[in-house]
Amino acid sequence: MHEQKVLKIAYISSVAGILFLFYLSQTVQLEEKNIDDISESDIGKTFLMQGKVVKVASYNNSVAVTIMQENTKTAFFGAEEYIPSEGDFIRFRAKLVDYDGRSSLEGSNIILQKS
């Protein structure tokens, strides 16, 4: 029965550990980056971005939001995300990914900022 006890403890600990890791992943502090600071070496990294929305375009499963600082940059959000309007100031989580050999920005967790 010793093995059964270890098995139960292992499963319970795993569930607790997974929940804790999930909590950490949602609350980890992220660095804020400007558009001009983003480079190919940031592929795979997640950071915060903010800017004024200058264009919103919807596709089948995603929404392309173009933000402006000194330059512009487009980030792609899932269709289930809150969709801002042109002129809004937003802050969001961004992840630079490699998509078919080109870097692309994936966004999530949009927060509307006061302009």
Binding site: L7, A10, L21
Partner: protein, 403 residues
């Protein structure tokens, strides 16, 4: 030029041997280093020669990387599934045979893939768009089949629980912001350290390893396993999001009653085929599915059919030499492993892997290692198929394709 190519093949084989034998060191990292130094290297060597280095390194790596998985319990993503049956054979004094089976898989799959390449290249663009929407469903069916084939209701439930817990863990870790090398602590915990810890409680010594000249494998079993490796390895070579580990699950579902030998042949074959077909995919549809091939595209943006033929020849040469190197290294490991204190060896590996995790992924990586080890122990003790823990990579892919 010919001498330069020979030197390039030799350099690739040496690098591939080092990466294959060193847990945690992947060819992708070395390929990126080669690309970083390419402005300097291209002053002395042609871009084709650098491409040859990467190809021969990649192929060699796929032969040698099962040695640390089986003998040290330290797998990478591509060989995680080999740890479990391989370690079982090691504890039965058959570690040499286990590695030899993976070599058989790699070599025969390499040969078959090269023979089929003229037919495969034109077909890749045609079936790419047809199969892509169904990858999620194919994986769901493969995993459902594996759970269904558990012998009792209790095991089916435990198997489902293990699959989903591994899957959720994998999803959380792969989406964890800025976690370096997430796969290293994840897979080391699930398949490596957990196995060693359970093994420590059961085993005191590793028996003397038998070094055999021949292994009996039924013709039918061999043909089935090679065919399954080539089919699923090819699919993982050109379909996005489908890696070697996911391909292995599909292959095991295809083969149905996969014995230990069949299992290891498949695992050996898939990695080699995946690498080769990734190269063909780059030629056929301009998409690179393998990290080392992606790195190569920085040096050679486009390849012609002549270069594809050249690289296939390089793969054949590198694979042949790598088979011999792997056998020789396995003999060495087999002789050494039974002389060392098993408990001390396991503890050393655990410390080494833990240090590697802390170095590459810092404190969060250590926490991931702890959680994945705990789940891995649950998986080891549950009495269900340990390959269900590959849910850690399969469930995120299913979510990606169906989400």
């Amino acid at each position: 030029m010919f001498l330069e190519m020979v030197v390039a093949i030799a350099a690739g084989i040496i690098l591939g041997s080092i990466t294959g034998l060193t847990p945690g060191l992947h060819i992708n990292a070395v390929s990126v280093l080669i690309v970083s130094f390419s402005p300097f290297l291209l002053a002395y060597f042609s871009s084709i020669s650098l491409g040859i280095v990467i190809i021969s390194m990649g192929v060699t790596h796929t032969f040698l990387d099962t040695i640390p998985s089986i003998f040290l319990g330290a797998p990478d993503a591509e060989t995680a599934l080999a740890v479990l049956p391989g370690h079982r054979m090691l504890l039965a004094g058959k570690g040499f045979e286990a590695v030899k089976l993976t070599i058989i898989g790699s070599l025969f799959s390499l040969l078959l893939s090269i023979i089929l390449m003229p037919a495969l290249i034109p077909v890749i663009p045609l079936i790419y768009d047809v199969i892509k929407p169904y990858i999620g469903i194919i994986l769901i069916l493969a995993c459902a089949y594996m759970i269904y084939t558990e012998s009792t209701i209790k095991k089916k439930i435990l198997g489902t629980l293990l699959f989903f817990l591994s899957g959720i863990l994998g999803y959380v870790i792969l989406n964890f912001p800025n976690l370096n090398q997430p796969l290293f602590p994840l897979l080391s915990g699930l398949f490596g350290i957990s196995l060693l810890l359970v093994s420590l409680s059961e085993v005191n010594i590793i028996p003397k390893q038998r070094i055999t000249n021949s292994i009996w494998i039924g013709k039918k079993g061999l043909v089935k396993s090679i065919a399954a490796s080539v089919i699923s390895g090819s699919a993982s070579g050109f379909l996005p999001g489908l890696g070697s580990s996911q391909a292995a699950i599909i292959a095991l579902a295809l083969v149905r009653e996969a014995g230990l030998y069949t299992f290891l042949i498949i695992i050996g074959g898939i990695n080699t085929v995946n690498f080769l077909v990734s190269l063909a995919t780059f030629y056929a549809i301009d998409k690179a599915r393998n990290g080392a091939i992606v790195a190569m595209t920085e040096i050679i943006p486009k390849i012609s059919i002549d270069e594809v033929i050249l690289f296939m020849a390089v793969a054949l040469i590198a694979g042949s030499i790598a088979s011999i190197i792997t056998l020789e290294m396995t003999v060495l490991f087999s002789k050494l492993i039974s002389r060392i204190n098993y408990r001390k060896c396991c503890l050393t590996i655990i410390i080494f892997v833990t240090a590697g995790v802390i170095y590459s992924s810092s404190g969060i990586g250590l926490l991931v290692l702890l959680v994945s080890t705990t789940l891995g122990i649950a998986g080891q003790l549950s009495g269900v198929k340990k390959s269900l823990m590959m849910g850690c990579l399969i469930l995120p892919v299913i979510i990606y394709f169906l989400g």
